[in-house]
Symmetry: C2
């Protein structure tokens, strides 16, 4: 089944202890789409400027991502600078140039309206809600957000949360949104805001999914999948969106939702995140094979499997 991903395309300038790169392809839909492309068909809606060259676009199309929904406007693509030299787990933003993103109003091509899965990358919550309302046939919607929207647009965000099935955020965001330092209680408060499930990403420690009572008929117990970067961590950028791509891509590939599918999806999310960080930008995500993905899945399963 097809996934539609709506979010950002960006040109990132990144400094990490392993080196630096200037204006490399990034953005939430880029990481999400490449990651999900190993599992299912992916369509993207985003905005890019004149500097989004055919060569950059081919990174997506080589992985069979449908890029017809990328709107081209005059001006420059969104640019972001991140520095991880003092903390590999959290970027210091060095600059943000919204450029063409400032006026972005996502338009869904008619041929995308039949997508069964929808991923709303981090963006203005009102845009997320607007896209969700257009996609009447989506039967599973995943959504990301960030501290900035939790603090500056809580009411808009609340409306969006009421429309989505799975919210995927990190620990700090979950504790801020739930207004509670205990993760279990914070998760309960967030689930009361609307989503059926909450995925909290713990960076190098994996991720946990919490369920609202009755959600998907999968029981109330949370589930945690580990991660373990097996090689070097060169660049953590995009790990969260790559996780979301593996998570939603795997669910879409199964065509049904049950507890076992969701558990495996959590593992695939961790696997894709762990690949993403091994090289700068999308380098590693561009050249994977499903066999490599499943081999790492088996290692992660063994990592926590009790007989």
């Amino acid at each position: 089944m097809s996934i539609l991903a709506v979010g950002t395309i960006g040109l990132d300038t990144i400094v990490t202890p392993s080196g630096q790169r200037e204006n490399i392809l990034g953005g939430s839909v880029t990481y999400f789409a490449l990651s999900a492309s190993y599992f299912t068909d992916v369509r993207v809606v985003a905005v890019a400027g004149a500097d989004f060259t055919p060569e950059l676009e081919s990174v997506l199309t080589k992985c069979k991502v449908d890029t017809r929904g990328i709107e081209r406007t005059a001006g420059q693509t969104f640019r972001w600078g991140g520095d991880y030299t003092s903390n590999l787990n959290e970027a210091q933003t060095t600059f943000t140039e919204l450029n063409v993103l400032a006026e972005f109003n996502p338009k869904i091509p008619a041929e995308y309206l039949d997508s069964n899965f929808l991923f709303l990358g981090n963006m203005v919550p009102a845009n997320q809600a607007q896209v969700r309302r257009l996609m009447k046939d989506a039967w599973l919607t995943g959504c990301d957000t960030m501290n900035y929207w939790i603090q500056s647009a809580p009411e808009e965000l609340a409306k969006t949360l009421n429309l989505v099935d799975v919210l995927l955020i990190n620990d700090g965001e979950a504790k801020m949104l739930g207004e509670e330092p205990n993760l279990m209680r914070s998760a309960q408060r967030i689930l009361a805001m609307g989503p059926k499930a909450l995925v909290v990403k713990h960076g190098e420690y994996g991720a946990t999914i919490f369920f609202r009572e009755g959600a998907f008929g999968v029981g109330r117990h949370p589930f945690r999948a580990p991660t373990l970067p097996l090689a070097e961590v060169q660049d953590p950028t995009g790990a969260g969106d790559s996780f979301a791509g593996g998570f939603m891509g795997y669910i879409a590939s199964q065509g049904e939702i049950n507890r076992e599918v969701l558990k495996r999806a959590m593992f695939y999310g961790g696997v894709m995140g762990s690949f993403a960080v091994e090289r700068f930008g999308t380098e590693r995500l561009q050249q994977l094979t499903r066999a490599e993905i499943d081999e790492r899945f088996a290692i992660f399963r063994e990592l926590t499997h009790l007989e």
Copy 2:
């Protein structure tokens, strides 16, 4: 089989967001012994002052901990103050009074020399090495240490690491000792210093065990067990020693070491740590039942179990 635990008894003054307590029973052997007591026989060696009352001692003896190895000297018991109000994951030390601990030179009662398991709580590395050399019959030795010794006594610590089987430390300590921010590589460097296995505790995210090639014949893949405080976190003090008590206690109760035993031991470690933090000091650890422990074990297993 019996475990001998050598370390500290302390009187702790603790402030957390949930409240405060003054001069409550703490120290590494206290948490370790109470936790391990649910699995096997535990003997302790430590030093205490005149203020270590029969009432305080009864906390240990009620759980059938053998306290004959606690040396009584004139003066006050070791005291420590910790404040968790700004960060529930890491105490700010408000004061340290070594008192009788300053001159502690651990003596092993003759009737303890047949202990098969040995736990060396965090203390001067030279004392740990001395105890290890005395305990010739111990066939599994676990050891803790801390940043202070890694920085101030690296050569002494290196000698101790050469004598122990399992080192149990937290993430920050592992990265400092291995001089490497990547946990996988840091673990390899630490294992090259002597221990057969390294347990790295990740606080609220669980713990990972890494193996030196050929160690225990259990294969090279690391193993991770999750944790999840199910109720409130009132006081994180002692979580690490409680983990060690569950980990070593379970192994001692099995009488053999194989990969499955070590994996289950990691889960029991996480279970005991999660109980410890639910109440102040040793409150929760004093009144557990094995049924409650196994019920939580089942929840933690379900938390990460793929069919």
